[in-house]
Amino acid sequence: MGWLGVGRPVPPAPAAALWLGAFLLPLAAWSVLSYVPWLWHPQVLIADSGGSALSQDMRVERAVFAEAVAQARADGVAPPRGERVNPVFLPAPHAVAQALWTGFTTPPLRRGDPWLHESLLHSISVIAWGFLISAVIGVPLGILCGAIPTLSRLVEPFVDFIRYMPAPAFGALCVAVLGINDAPKVAIIVVGTLFQMVLVIANTTRQLDRALLEAAQTLGASDRRLLTRVVVPGILPNLYTDLRVLLGWAWTYLIVAELIGASSGISWYINQQGKYRAYENVFAGIIIIGLIGLITDQVLGWLGRSLFPWSGQQPSRPSRLAFAIVTFPLRLPWILVRRARSLPRASA
């Protein structure tokens, strides 16, 4: 246990175990709460009302149930029977797992409606478009603001003001301008992420080691070359991490974006199931979003370690190999060009 303490690095094997524990511990807590009746279970689900005023399938507080039993005894009628349960808002893990499974395997109830995985893809495309548009504007603007103090003074106060405005409140305006299909949903994601992005990236840019800038200036670099050769490469690993974090924000805005205009996607599904109190489906939807977020983030993190080996975190050998395989199609034209150039010209 030499790795337990402030600043002690964790060796790979315990690290993997800790990662697993991070998920298993909450799952265990949830299971215990759900399956061990005397821990919480504040309500009683009536199985048989007996001679009492309660009715079958009613969920009542335990005290109320005890009162009804005492009353029935006093009246000389059959007491009600029931079992202790949690409130309907906290479904048990197995019910959620089952809902996850049936969610993906049952065809849509309504002819022409999307399957669950199609709804998900639709949500992902809304997120992807919103985030892409944000990044196309926000990344260059953020870098420029961070690098050029004059621009920062001109742009950042207003951006700072607007980022506190609640994006969902622009829903009606987005619909009025952009119609009722996907465009207003994408716009909500853009409004929700763009302004944060500019400030976060500007700040990251300002963190760049000034010595690097000064050295390049001493060597006579122009402003343009400073930006392209020093600032951008210098902040790239941190910029990449910023975008990873900001992508998470985009998901939080999805839940409002999908409720404006024509209803669609995973968050409409969650909302609708909640309205009719099918909480196992609600939990299934939440878990799906969490899983997508986790997987995206892990993949992006791994990509980042391979893309920016100079950022300090060395990728392991198998991960370098996987990276080479994944990026092979992208590098292929480049490799071919190089090979063609280096081949000795066939002599006639």
Binding site: A53, L54, M58, R59, V60, E61, V64, A68, P108, L109, R110, R111, D113, H122, S125, W129, G171, A172, V175, A176, G179, I180, N181, D182, A183, V186, L259, I260, G261, A262, S263, Y269, N271, Q272, Q273, K275, Y276, R277, A278
Partner: protein, 319 residues
């Protein structure tokens, strides 16, 4: 990209051709009933090019106010609220009225509305069930000042009743049912069944579209009695429930519970509702009550003329 492009191209293409009528509808049994005509292919059958768009209630009103759809399904009270915000519309079709789904529910020991004198009542001030409470008090010779109002969001009514801090709560389905289940011994003191017509549910149309495409709107209105007959007929009731449940994406058994507190109107019922009276048995009377209520509760400032927003000619033309 492809998806958005195709949507954009489709949107443009439909703009060029004769546009389909766009109707935004949302999750309330009377409006979800449109789904029967959609799924049974009746809309194509009568030769109307109409696109029904499923939305959340408030966003559907926003889309209508922004002119993105030609018609929307709303309550007669909310039609007035939209009008006060500058969006003119004509109610041409009435689907139903709330028939017991809205309730004033008393805690155990409270036997009647009269028992509420001097006690606290939880209500979402300015919403329909506030109107219901006023109606309940008036029916018992009381007024608002006889009780103490506590402003609580309708979604929290079941827990509010359970807390014991108030003597009664006002809520609509499914919250009213949940409150009754959560607090054994509690009971409905007054429900919309005793004040039928307090809330009518309409399809309202943009006046320009109505003038331009009157024949198409007439055909859609003519479908409604057929839809109601299909839902009410014991032979096809289960199929209707299945179709509607699929629209809201819940199991048919669960959805069937939402249907009884809504009184779907057949042709005679609709014609009666569109015959102007000063009472709640007509939409006009109900809208006048809603207008007075909205003014009293500062939902809007200037008095409206509800008759202007109703057009019964489409219903009256049906045989």
């Amino acid at each position: 990209m492809l998806r958005i492009l195709t949507i954009a191209i489709l949107a443009l293409a439909t703009l060029r051709a004769a546009e389909p009528l766009k109707i935004a509808y949302s999750d309330w049994p009377g409006w979800t009933a449109w789904e029967v005509a959609i799924q049974k292919g009746w809309i194509k059958e009568v030769g109307v090019d109409a696109e029904f768009i499923w939305m959340e209630y408030v966003p559907s009103m926003e889309a209508f106010q922004a002119g993105k759809v030609d018609a929307v399904t709303v309550t007669n009270g909310d039609q007035l609220v939209m009008a006060s915000a500058g969006k003119d519309s004509r109610g041409i079709l009435v689907h139903d009225y709330s028939n017991g789904n809205d309730m004033v529910i008393g805690r155990p020991g409270i036997a009647s509305i009269k028992d509420l004198k001097g006690k606290k009542v939880a209500v979402e001030v300015g919403f329909v069930d506030h109107l219901l409470l006023l109606k309940a008090l008036a029916a018992n010779g009381m007024q608002e000042s006889d009780v103490t109002l506590v402003n609580v969001p309708t979604n929290d009514m079941p827990q509010t009743l359970a807390s014991g801090d108030v003597a009664a709560v006002c809520a609509w389905y499914p919250l009213s049912g949940q409150a009754l289940t959560l607090v054994p011994g509690s009971k409905p003191l007054f429900s919309s069944k005793e004040a039928p017509g307090l809330i009518y549910d309409l399809t309202v149309v943009d006046p320009t579209s109505l003038a331009k495409r009157a024949a198409d709107w007439q055909k859609l209105v003519a479908l409604w009695p057929r839809i109601v007959a299909f839902i009410d007929d014991p032979k096809t009731h289960d199929e209707a429930v299945k179709i509607m449940a699929a629209r809201v994406n819940v199991k048919p058994e669960l959805y069937a519970q939402a249907l009884p507190g809504t009184k779907l109107l057949d042709l005679a019922g609709m014609q009666k509702a569109f015959t102007p009276t000063a009472r709640l048995d007509s939409i006009l009377g109900s809208s006048q009550a809603a207008d007075a209520f909205n003014l009293a509760n500062k939902v809007y400032e200037a008095k409206l003329d509800p008759a202007k927003f109703l057009d019964g000619s489409f219903i009256q033309a049906l045989k």
